[in-house]
Amino acid sequence: MRLAGELGAYLNQAVMVAGIVIAIVRWRHHPRTSRLVAIALALPLFVTLVLPLHLPFVWQWLERMEDSRRNLLVCLDSALWKTARAASYILLLVVTLGPRGDQRRDDSQSRDRAEGGVS
């Protein structure tokens, strides 16, 4: 079951990477949306990869530390990761519920087309 948890973590990271790739691919169509989505997905991914306290050799180094210092580091790591997740959700909410920059452009284009097409 531990394996299932680890596989879930890898799935999570794969989804984030895939999301960043999609954002880069669609950058021309939706520049603002793509930028915000890329930042939102890169943030927790960056924290996960930069602070790898779960790696065996880092964990061995932590094991040699004093209990209080180790607990502090683990708690700080957890807090930082959760803060990154919260920031990621806020950015994704802004992207999905906020006005789209490219939509504004699309609206003006369709209005121009309608005005030109009706006459």
Partner: protein
């Protein structure tokens, strides 16, 4: 420990506030709002609420009685559900962000040049070939 717990509450607060905000804006973007509510509800339910289930005295007592293997199974299932719910949440957010907006999902109007929407795909070469011969490819 307190810092990590506060961060947990912060994530849950963001998720709950997001759900409230999305429901408030439901009329403007119904389809996107539905996707966002599911995307926020999944991690809130499986990641945050489920961790509190283990603190319920009955569940906690049961966990003390079971074998270590069963305990590992319970915690592993919780962890896997949390991870999968987070992945599903990101997928739903991506669909909501890059999918077609609600106001551009209207059916093409008859008699309006361009079908009345900016996202109606123009007919392809094969479709034109069929039309020129008065045939329908859908027969």
């Amino acid at each position: 420990m307190l810092v990590a717990r506060m961060a947990s509450y912060m994530v849950a607060g963001v998720l709950a506030a997001g759900i409230v905000l999305t429901i408030a804006r439901w009329q403007r973007h119904p389809r996107i709002s539905l996707l966002v509510v599911i995307a926020l509800g999944l991690p809130l339910l499986f990641d945050f609420c489920l961790s509190y289930v283990f603190r319920v005295p009955a569940v906690y007592g049961w966990l003390q009685r079971v074998t270590p293997a069963e305990r590992r199974l319970a915690f592993g299932t919780h962890q896997a559900l949390g991870q999968v719910s987070r992945a599903a949440s990101y997928v739903l957010f991506l669909v909501a962000a890059f999918g077609r907006p609600d106001d551009q999902r209207t059916e093409p109007q008859q008699g309006v040049p361009g079908g009345g929407t900016s996202h109606v795909r123009p007919p392809g070469r094969l479709q034109k070939w069929w039309r020129e011969r008065g045939l329908s490819p859908n027969r």
